[in-house]
């Protein structure tokens, strides 16, 4: 029985469970639901839970274990000399393909079911016949792999049959148990609610699981990378020169340098503009101006980063070329291509303006009015109040906001992929093209490199570095913001 069919049967059983559970509860009290402990629907839901929970659990375990068990038993059929010629994984994937092809041929009627399990390489050309049903095989089928594939089919078929029997059996058992246990005193509501509670907890845990998934996927591949490539060369190397043929030099320092450089330029654009905008909006602007200007600025934060990337590549880059490039307005030749650190940094700065301004705005608004009144009452002008009372009071929060903006700048991808260039170099000229950690993660993982090669695995090490750095910044920033907020609460 196929997976959708099993699921459909389970669904039908669940519906039946609801009807039987509710019906039984109502029958035992003769239709007078006041004598039941819970509302009648809860008895139905209780039966649904008992039908689905154990069977689904079994199904998931089965789905995870079956491929492992089958692979284990079939791979023992493949002799060592075949496995030595190419890797066992490759032979096994061939076996699986042939098995799928035989299945397909059997369902399409090209082969009878007995033929599919009994054909021999000596009697017919399996490759051609599978080609007829649209399964292309790279190499000729050997007698051994064909036998393994047929064994694979048999074991899978038994596995699927057993799976259906066990899972549906569990569902039926649960249904019967739940219905039998239904009586007027049974606390169905409490039973159902505790299950719902567990579902809620499971949903909340997904955040933890996601983090765990991120950390594990990064760590495993990073460790794998450092097994082939020395960590000291990765962290302290001054050249980044990957070559997909092997023999790459993978030093992270040029990437880190460009990342920090671009982030610095972005912050130099975003922080003054964002901060002054926030001060004006929260201290000076009339409600009317504020109601218009604030959402307009926040549009900048809602625009996808690919748009900024294109803006950097096609508008800002050529504009800078017209100023700094050869034959440009300044008559200097400092810039050789449209993509540069300055291009990406400026555009990223634009993106970060609303980020800085919104966070600072909240923090400035959180400064109690009494402090303003005190300062103004002593005769200070509004700007003096802002500079000497409000900003010092809001400083920790603003620093937190800037750190959050910095971590965003470091992790930003699309703008640097399109705007900053692809050459990794250590240079102080902001008009040169450089490349960052995120851009290199993209280029290393979108190539055709084998996953086991250092050229692909290095992306995970880069990701790990990025993750650790941004996480550290975020934690510090959140800590500062929270600590500051407590002062007035």
């Amino acid at each position: 029985m196929s997976l959708p069919l099993v699921s459909a049967v389970l669904l039908v059983l669940a519906v039946a469970g609801y009807i039987f559970g509710r019906g039984k509860a109502l029958k035992t009290v003769g239709g007078d639901s006041r004598r039941l402990h819970s509302l009648s629907g809860y008895y139905g839901w209780n039966a649904v839970v008992w039908t689905l929970a154990p069977s689904l659990l079994l199904l998931v375990i089965w789905l995870l274990l079956q491929p492992i068990v089958i692979n284990g038993s079939v791979s023992s059929m493949i002799s060592e000399e075949t496995a030595a010629g190419s890797s066992l994984d490759l032979v096994m994937s061939d076996v699986v393909r042939i098995a799928e092809g035989l299945d397909l041929a059997a369902t399409q009627g090209v082969m009878s079911a007995e033929d599919a399990s009994s054909i021999r390489i000596e009697l017919t050309d399996v490759r051609d016949r599978l080609g007829d049903v649209g399964v292309a095989l790279g190499s000729d089928v050997t007698a051994e792999t064909l036998r393994a594939a047929q064994a694979y089919r048999e074991i899978s078929a038994t596995g699927y049959l057993l799976r259906s029997v066990v899972v549906i059996g569990a569902a039926l058992l649960g249904l019967v148990l739940a219905v039998v246990r239904t009586n007027p005193e049974f606390r169905a509501r409490n039973a159902v609610e505790s299950v719902v509670r567990w579902i809620l907890i499971a949903a909340a845990s997904i955040a933890v699981l996601t983090t765990l998934g991120i950390v594990l996927s990064l760590i495993f591949n990073t460790v794998e990378f450092f097994r082939i490539y020395p960590a000291s060369e990765f962290f302290f190397g001054l050249t980044w020169a990957p070559s997909f043929g092997g023999g790459s030099v993978l030093g992270i320092l040029p990437l880190i340098w460009a990342t920090l450089y671009i982030s610095l330029i972005a912050l130099a654009v975003a922080v003054p503009i964002g901060l002054f905008a926030a001060i004006y909006l929260s201290e000076y602007a009339t409600p009317h101006v504020r109601a218009v200007a604030k959402p307009l600025l926040e549009i900048l934060a809602g625009i996808p980063t690919i748009v900024y990337g294109l803006f950097a590549l096609l508008t800002v880059g050529p504009l800078l070329m017209n100023v700094f490039g050869s034959g440009g307005a300044l008559g200097v030749n400092w810039m050789s291509g449209a993509s540069s650190v300055l291009t990406a940094g400026m555009v990223m700065g634009i993106m970060l303006i609303p980020f800085v301004s919104s966070l600072s705005d909240d923090i400035i608004n959180a400064v109690p009015q009494a402090m303003r009144d005190g300062s103004l009452g002593l005769g200070a002008t509004h700007s003096e109040t802002v500079k000497q009372v409000i900003l010092p009071a809001a400083l920790p929060g603003i620093v937190g906001a800037i750190l959050l903006a910095a971590s965003r700048a470091i992790g930003e991808t699309m703008i640097v992929v399109l705007g900053a260039g692809a050459a990794a170099r250590l240079s102080v000229n902001p008009l040169e093209a450089m490349t960052t950690v995120t851009a290199k993660i993209v280029s290393q993982l979108t190539g055709d490199a084998d996953f086991a090669s250092p050229e692909a695995l290095v992306a995970f090490a880069l990701g790990m570095t990025l993750f650790v750095v941004t996480l550290g910044l975020n934690i510090i920033a959140l800590y500062i913001v929270r600590k500051y907020r407590e002062q007035y609460d």
Binding site: R189, E193, R197, L200, A202, A203, A204, A207, V208, T210, T211, G213, I214, S217, L218, N221, I273, G274, F276, A277, Y280, L281, E283, Y284, A293, L297, I299, L300, G302, P304, I306, V307, Y308, G309, L310, F311, L314, I350, I353, S357, T381, H382, S383, E384, L404, G411, E412, M414, V417, L418, I441, V442, L445, T446, F451, G463, F467, T470, L471, L478
Partner: protein, 450 residues
């Protein structure tokens, strides 16, 4: 202080001849300085906001001025007589479209002489006016309508990207000096054709609903298939992130005890909201593709990755709207004997729903524009040239997504494709705007004060 110094001080202060008389109406130098500083400070704020708004306008102007061109397209009208014998011959040959191209050029030359336009351009060069996909258009028509063989059918064929660019002002005659494909004679012909009404520029539905054709035919590229890919991805995100996010928020807001575990969850959620999106791409690659062997480039995988990214946004906004429901509602429900679970699911949740939906739409809008994680799970490696057939194929067969498609066009370093990329951005922004407007309307409509 001694008496003498005091006396001296009082003496100097009293005897000071420079003592000025202050007027209330005009300030002294210091006051003027302070007021000037005040005005300057205020001006800085205005300038900062002005710069921010200027950037916004510049961005929108760049998008609109560069992208609107993608929505119009130059078409050439050709009356093609579909001759039975010619078509049979073409269908028998190996390279079918080249035969069809010959049919097309022959028909076009006839049209030209009928319109009294003399070209002096050879048949081979005349071809360059048309997109290389034009012959395929004719063949597709023949295959779809076999009964039209023998009659003369009028086709609106897509012009080549250079001619199209000339009509839109993207290509001018100076550029042609470096161009091997087109020369001034072609442009003269194009002008004549336009005057004769054979060549015209009009709205291009192909761009909105078509599929990306190939990397050498920008004039045929369309964003339709990736729109479908984005739609399926958003379905996955919606179906998964809304229930999970709401369930998680309910637990954290209403049931969670103050202990290590819930603390861990809360810190985790605020951290996840700030993790760079590319890291989620790495997660998706390692877990969903490397470990679970889900198909690459499938909207299902993209949707799963974006779900994980969107969850923190939804949880944070859902918690805020649950918190906004006043305790009296809960108390009233509990007071008449509802369980805690009932009070939440029957009373609090429906009241918080508008806020939750608003947050969800905003989260979805963010997910729709996200690109970086999609690059890693392979949604750029695949060029969607067909619409998926069927619902299951929509989730599982490789497709692209709108931002990934835009990136793909932006990478091709061809002005004709850049125009498509800007045009794609307009389509994307229209979607985002629609979603945000829905969110605002929801908020307005259901806003209530307690």
């Amino acid at each position: 202080m001694t008496d003498t110094t005091l006396a001296q001080q009082s003496d100097t202060s009293h005897a000071s001849p420079e003592r000025t008389v202050f007027s209330i109406l005009e300030g002294d130098a210091l006051t003027r300085k302070r007021n000037a500083a005040e005005a300057r400070f205020k001006l800085y704020g205005i300038i900062a906001i002005g710069i921010g708004l200027f950037f916004l306008v510049a961005l929108l102007w760049a998008i609109l001025s560069n992208g609107l061109g993608a929505f119009t397209q130059t078409f050439v009208k050709v009356e093609v007589p579909l001759n039975q014998q010619q078509i049979e011959e073409a269908e028998k040959s190996v390279v079918k479209t080249s035969k069809y191209r010959a049919i097309l050029i022959e028909a076009f030359e006839n049209d030209l002489s009928a319109a009294n336009i003399s070209t002096g351009i050879s048949a081979k060069d005349l071809e360059k006016l048309f997109s290389s996909g034009a012959a395929a258009t004719i063949r597709d028509h023949v295959l779809a309508h076999p009964d039209s063989i023998g009659s003369t059918v009028g086709f609106d064929l897509i012009a080549s990207s250079r001619v199209d660019g000339y009509m839109k002002g993207r290509v001018d005659r100076d550029d042609l000096a470096q161009d091997k494909n087109l020369d001034a004679a072609h442009l003269d012909l194009a002008d004549q054709l336009q005057a004769a009404g054979i060549l015209e520029k009009r709205f291009n539905w192909e761009f909105v609903f078509g599929t990306d054709a190939s990397d050498s035919r920008p004039e045929q590229a369309g964003i339709g298939a990736s729109m479908v890919g984005s739609l399926f991805m958003m379905l996955v995100v919606l179906v998964l992130s809304l229930p999970i996010g709401v369930a998680a928020s309910i637990y954290l807001e209403e049931f969670a005890p103050q202990n290590r575990f819930t603390d861990l969850i809360e810190v985790n959620i605020s951290n996840l909201a700030a993790v760079p999106s590319i890291v989620f791409g790495i997660l998706g690659l390692a877990v969903f593709i490397q470990f679970m062997h889900l198909p690459q480039s499938a909207p299902l995988v993209g949707g799963l990755v974006l779900t994980l990214m969107t969850l923190p946004t939804i949880i944070i906004s859902t918690r805020a709207s649950l918190k906004a429901v006043p305790p009296s509602i809960r108390d009233a429900a509990l007071g008449i004997g509802a369980s805690k679970m009932q009070s939440i699911f029957h009373h609090v949740l429906p009241l918080a729903m508008p806020g939750i939906l608003t947050g969800t739409i905003i989260g979805l809008a963010q997910a729709l524009g996200e690109t970086a994680p999609l690059l890693l799970i392979g949604m750029v490696g695949f060029i969607a040239s067909n619409f998926p057939d069927g619902v299951a194929a929509g989730f599982l067969s490789p497709n692209s997504a709108m931002p990934a498609q835009i990136y793909e066009w932006a990478k091709r370093a061809d002005p004709a494709f850049y125009e498509r990329a800007w045009g794609g951005i307009i389509v994307l922004l229209v979607f985002l705007m629609a979603m945000n407007i829905i969110a605002i309307i929801l908020r307005r409509r259901f806003e209530r004060r307690w």
